[in-house]
Symmetry: D2
Subunit: 101 residues, 4 copies
Amino acid sequence: MIVEISFVPIGVGTSLSHYIAKVINYIEKSGLKYQLTPMGTIIEAEWNEISSFIDYSHNLIFQMGVERIITNIKIDYRLDKKSSMQDKIDSVKKKRVEVDV
Amino acid sequence: MIVEISFVPIGVGTSLSHYIAKVINYIEKSGLKYQLTPMGTIIEAEWNEISSFIDYSHNLIFQMGVERIITNIKIDYRLDKKSSMQDKIDSVKKKRVEVDV
Amino acid sequence: MIVEISFVPIGVGTSLSHYIAKVINYIEKSGLKYQLTPMGTIIEAEWNEISSFIDYSHNLIFQMGVERIITNIKIDYRLDKKSSMQDKIDSVKKKRVEVDV
Amino acid sequence: MIVEISFVPIGVGTSLSHYIAKVINYIEKSGLKYQLTPMGTIIEAEWNEISSFIDYSHNLIFQMGVERIITNIKIDYRLDKKSSMQDKIDSVKKKRVEVDV
């Protein structure tokens, strides 16, 4: 499945990038396939891996002194075909020549 | 933690309520504390329970013939105080008399 | 359309209910049909009303001294049938007797 | 503000890329600054521009024969500093060397 996750630490100032950096360092070491976007982190993995990642990331952020986190997760889970992060982008790009505005 | 979840079965018509009904029947039997809203299901539980619920619900929906599901999850996870679903509503209601528009 | 909105003021402590109370007081005065849930506010209105509400609410929260807001919005927009907030809940409840877990 | 939007056409099959392609063609012509990700479209603009884009996109998708759309929007709105889509990515990358896992 493909999953987008964004962690929002609450009550620790308006700059949140060092918390996200910590999570990204962790995911990099985990070997999971991911992409950082301006609004979240997109991961391609199985649910048990995603679930553990979310759990671990919450703990990482709490250990940095945060007391509340609001986390948004969007899952795209399909059985009809295997579609990677890049496939999804390519599919939209290919269709752009077929449709007009 | 308090978590809002909405499952969106893709490609199976515009009426989705029987898929959600299946999930709600399951959560009712699970004994988890939950609330159905017009836009999702809110659950109060630990992450391992939430994670299993999501996994099981995806399987339930796939077994009904769905081939793609888009799922949105919002987690409110706080260590500073224990706050139930009802506490959150009560807290806003109580503050309404203190602030003016 | 039916829309769920949650405003998350960033960097102003972990207690956010008085900001939400301000927004709820405003929506109450606006006469829009709404429902407060533990995870957001659900509104039934046209897009131009929703859009103005979002804009005004951001300003209300900024005026309370907040410098960053992260806002999540989920829109359910259908042309095939008129479905109110209560209809959606009723539809799931009715289907629960037809499906088994 | 920076806004991530994902439109999910309901009940029209599991392949959604040609609907998204239509929206991307429109945004390209509009001149708005945007980035396509595997999970949505990120736009940097003012609320009135974003709001019009959402409204117009819903109409575009309905005109393609869709009868229900579920749309998710995440807004990052800050007054404390000007931060572009690229700034957000760069900020996380820069912080990665300062934090360890």
